[in-house]
């Protein structure tokens, strides 16, 4: 027998009169009739599904979906509620909603204290007023976003290293995704041979761009570490900034004009020609020279040489300038002349190469202190 009666559970407040046809199975003559009884509207049910992934965090976003069901296939309306609680179990209801999807932002603070837990509640009710029980409740622990800090350094950095006795400015800027106030703590781990009285590590006025700055004046070479610890009063995070301090490095020839010819080739000079070094890279002694009066930086030194036609050795012809002019009128067509420049810094280094070697590097690397141009006069 088919019936539309629902009688597996009571439905409060609803009485339906139902007419049902009863047909005797196999009867040769049909017999129809109605009977009356109370219909029962069944309760809807629901579950909370968290849609987003990841660990709930202060200041973070959460999203939920209501998975609703009604045995009667009635229209069901959700009722959301969101509470955030602090460590003292003080909770504040922040959000409500009546859509299938529920989006909330976890407050960073509840009653002035960090949020540690959130509670999402979901109730449902069908169009006839039946309420799903029990109400769904989801409790989630909330983590604190650790503060972050960006630490930067600036100074006479060359190839990742700094010279001693020249200030290095270290900037640190803390941040916190939760919006908590952060504090910075500075520690210095000097190189092994550093003498406290000879080094400086002191606060500078806070930069207008925010954060804090320290001045480090390393007194010896070695590996120095500046540790900056940022704290938001809940969590702390330390960042180490290694600073490699190396002895004053040899200067390096940069761009020059003209470019030196390859070995065995000769530049043809048929009109006055200026041989110039445009750039000397160095940790301390530069070209073009830094502004005068700089307490730490200086100007690179130049020594220019010429090997006259037929001469065996080079002769120094000028110093202190970045260029040498060669006038072919002072020579004869077919003359072979060699122009050479050597650079130096405040240490007065010795070029370790024989006179006949066109290029030379103290460090035997790509950093050259000597460069030569072979020239044919026409």
């Amino acid at each position: 027998m088919a019936s539309r009666l629902h009688h597996d559970r009571p439905v409060s407040g609803l009485v339906h009169h139902v007419c049902a046809a009863v047909v005797a199975a196999g009867a040769s003559t049909g017999a129809a009739g109605c009977f009356y009884g109370e219909v029962i509207n069944e309760r809807p049910s629901a579950e909370i599904e968290r849609v987003d992934t990841g660990v709930p965090a202060r200041g973070g976003s959460l999203s939920f979906r209501a998975l609703m069901d009604d045995p009667d296939r009635d229209r069901v309306t959700p009722s959301w509620r969101f509470e955030a609680c602090n460590a003292q179990a003080i909770c504040a209801a922040d959000e409500t909603g009546a859509d299938q999807m529920f989006y909330v932002t976890v407050p960073s603070l509840v009653d002035g204290l960090p949020t540690v837990r959130v509670v999402v509640s979901l109730g449902v009710q069908d169009e006839y007023g039946a309420i799903g029980v029990p109400q769904q409740r989801l409790e989630l622990d909330v983590i604190n976003n650790a503060p972050s800090v960006v630490v930067q350094r600036r100074g006479r950095e060359l190839d990742g290293a700094f010279p001693p006795d020249v200030p290095i400015t270290i900037s640190a800027r803390g941040g916190d995704a939760d919006g908590d106030a952060v504090t910075l703590a500075w520690e210095l781990f000097p190189a092994r041979d550093s003498v406290p009285a000879d080094r400086r590590f002191e606060a500078l006025p806070d930069p207008s761009s925010g954060g804090e700055e320290r001045l480090l004046l390393p007194d010896v070479d070695g590996e120095w570490i500046v540790r900056v610890t940022v704290s938001d009063a809940i969590d702390a995070r330390a960042v180490d900034l290694p600073i490699l301090v190396v002895p004053d490095q040899p200067p390096c020839l940069g761009a020059s004009d003209p470019a030196p010819p390859p070995v065995g080739a000769m530049l043809v000079v048929d009109q006055p020609r200026r041989f110039s070094v445009l750039v000397v890279e160095d940790d301390l002694d530069l070209f073009p020279a830094p502004p005068p009066g700089d307490p730490y930086l200086g100007a690179a030194g130049f020594r220019w040489y010429l090997r006259a036609p037929g001469a065996a050795a080079f002769t120094q012809v000028d110093t202190g300038v970045a260029a040498l002019e060669l006038d072919p009128a002072h020579f004869d067509p077919g003359d072979r002349v060699d122009v050479r420049v050597e650079i130096d810094d405040r240490l007065g280094r010795t070029i370790p190469c024989a006179d006949g070697v066109a290029t030379c590097s103290i460090g035997q690397d790509a950093c050259l202190q000597r460069q030569s141009w072979a020239v044919e006069v026409r």
Partner: protein
């Protein structure tokens, strides 16, 4: 005013009178009225363009800045910041619409006004500048020469900017043209490889010369900015004539070099005897020939190519010879054989000549002898004299411990000698051979002066550097230097009678350098020497396709007009780009019309 997308101009020659610039992805506009520039980010595809009106504001001016944002991915908010670079002071502005998309600000004084715009929405900020000119500003064309380090794939290149006087100038973002690596192949008509020196002179920026060297297979790859070039090819082989290829297209790849025209002949001394070991060469239309060396019978054979109507023929005798170098201008034309004949001219040996400077014996020192004489030889076609040749000697001798010259024979001509007296500026002595046993140079002379700042007042600690010029200039000549005192006054000793260029340098670089020419040094007071005012040209250099600056690029500011020869290579100011690609170079201020 016009709106447009960020320009993609490169560092080709262009008159960049554009007075508004940006430092955020866009290139400095190269046309003369474009003032917009943009900030863009290749990663996000977002860009900002800001245009200014008027395009060439003159103080006092009211300037409208209009922004366009392209490709933003969110809500666009407009946050402007305007500052006067010279003082760093913020300049108030007025939004021209509710969203502040466009603004207007007053520029009461000349200078660089930095304009920054932040729009959020994942878009990089716009950092630009507008140059506000001084009323009546003179202008000066300045070549900015950029020489990238080896780490940047770009050839040396130049850009011309028109700098108005009276205020600093922002040149904006200057993008290095990476050019292309063109394969070059130098061959003979029979496809034989030619090792050679190859010089490419751009037709658009002729000062930015690129040089290369082909290998034994005749190949090289030269990075050039696309365009037309005049190419000088000087083969290593003396059997092939150098060639100047005009208006060459780099896509051509192949350069053909042949033997050119043969010119043979003999070099004979005044007695008609063969001179062996002499080097004979000529230039025609600025193109050199090969350099031929005479053999035992004095004969030579060089290869050349006619480039003009008159050729400059040079015959240099061997080093041990007392014969002079001969120079003559002659029309070779179709001649296949010429004779270089030394004339009979008296000569003298300077052996044991006592050399003194100011009466003091110049012992163990170098003496540069430079003298000449007309009619020292002839260029002949058989017995026909085609041209007279002048004779010259330029040799460096060294005195002995007694201050006496070694044996060296010179034609009896006139000229001068520079005596490098130890520790001093040296001496200049007029020469007229034969000498009378002594070569006396006057004692050094003292020159005084006072260096003043452009704005008035003494320029303390100005540096003074005197470089020998003229016929006696030579590498290794003493370079007297001095430093001005606190009142700007200086004293410097120079070789009496010497020609000098006196370079006055402001150590603070507040003012530009000044060169004072001294034709013949005598004891004199130069008086007050005011340095020219300087202004700063600033900019940012980027490699092609980069949104950040290029470091360690050499930047030289060079004169563009009213200079020639080596003066075109002497920088008015130089700089190097910092890690952010920025540079500041000081040049003389063109000033303001009175």
């Amino acid at each position: 005013m016009k709106r447009r997308m960020p320009a993609g101009s490169t560092l080709a020659t262009a008159v960049a009178a554009a007075l508004a610039t940006a430092a955020c992805g866009g290139d400095m506009a190269s046309d003369d009225d474009a003032v917009d520039a943009g900030g863009s980010d290749g990663a996000t595809g977002c860009s900002i363009a800001v245009s200014f009106a008027p395009t060439m504001p003159v103080a006092p001016a009211t300037i409208v800045a209009q922004s366009d944002v392209f490709g933003s991915s969110g809500i666009t908010t407009y946050v402007w910041r305007v500052t006067l670079r010279a003082t760093g002071a913020e300049v108030p502005f007025t939004p021209l619409d509710a969203s502040s998309r466009d603004i207007q600000f007053d520029a009461p004084t000349a200078g660089i006004y930095d304009v920054d715009l932040f729009v959020g929405a994942g878009c990089p900020s716009f950092d630009g500048a507008v140059n506000v000119m001084t009323p009546g500003a003179n202008t000066r064309a300045v070549r900015l020469r950029f020489v990238p380090p080896a780490s940047i794939t770009a050839p040396p290149q130049e850009r011309i900017v028109i700098v108005p006087g009276g205020a600093d100038f922002a040149a904006g973002v200057l993008t290095l043209d990476a050019g292309n690596a063109y394969p070059i192949n130098v061959r003979t008509p029979t496809a034989t490889a030619v090792p050679a020196y190859v010089r490419f002179t751009s037709r658009s920026t002729p000062d930015a010369v690129i040089e290369g060297f082909t290998d034994s297979a005749g190949n090289t790859a030269v990075r050039l900015i696309p365009g037309r070039y005049d190419v000088l090819v000087v083969p290593t082989s003396a059997a092939l004539a150098p060639r100047l290829v005009l208006d060459w297209d780099p896509l051509t790849t192949l350069i053909t070099i042949d033997a050119g025209t043969a010119l043979g002949g003999f070099v004979l001394d005044d007695a008609g005897a063969a001179v062996a070991g002499a080097r004979v060469s000529l230039t025609s239309g600025g193109v050199p020939s090969t350099v031929a060396t005479t053999v035992a019978d004095g004969s030579f054979s060089l290869r050349w190519r006619e480039g003009g109507t008159i050729e400059q023929v040079t015959a240099v005798p061997p080093a041990a010879s007392s014969l002079p170098r001969l120079d003559a201008q002659v029309e070779i034309g179709a001649l296949a054989v010429v004779t270089v004949r030394h004339a009979t001219v008296p000569s003298s040996d300077v052996a044991s000549t006592l050399v003194r400077v100011g009466g003091v014996i110049a012992a163990s020192t170098e003496v540069v002898v430079d003298l000449g004489r007309a009619g020292a030889g002839t260029i002949r076609d058989g017995s026909t004299i085609l041209a007279a040749a002048s004779g010259s000697h330029r040799r460096t001798l060294r005195t002995d411990a007694a201050g006496r010259l070694p044996s060296a024979r010179f034609i009896d001509g006139t000229g001068a000698a520079f005596i490098t007296a130890s520790g001093g500026p040296g001496g200049v002595a007029a020469l007229a051979l034969p000498l009378g046993g002594t070569l006396d140079a006057a004692a050094p002379v003292t020159i005084t002066g006072r260096v003043l700042r452009a704005a008035g007042g003494a320029r303390a600690e100005a540096r003074v550097r005197a470089t020998l010029t003229g016929a006696l200039a030579h590498a290794g000549a003493p370079v007297p230097v001095a430093t001005a005192g606190s009142d700007g006054s200086f004293t410097i000793a120079l070789a009496a009678g010497g020609a000098y260029a006196l370079l006055l340098i402001d150590p603070t670089a507040d003012d530009a350098a000044r060169t004072v020419a001294i034709a013949s040094a005598t004891a004199q007071a130069l008086g007050d020497l005011s340095l020219p005012a300087a202004l700063a040209i600033s900019g940012e250099v980027r490699a092609t396709g980069q949104s950040v600056g290029a470091r360690a690029v050499g930047v030289a500011a060079l004169c563009h007009l009213a200079c020639a020869g080596i003066e075109r290579t002497r920088p008015l100011g130089d700089a190097v780009t910092d890690p952010a690609g920025r540079f500041v170079v000081a040049v003389p201020d063109p000033g303001v019309a009175q």
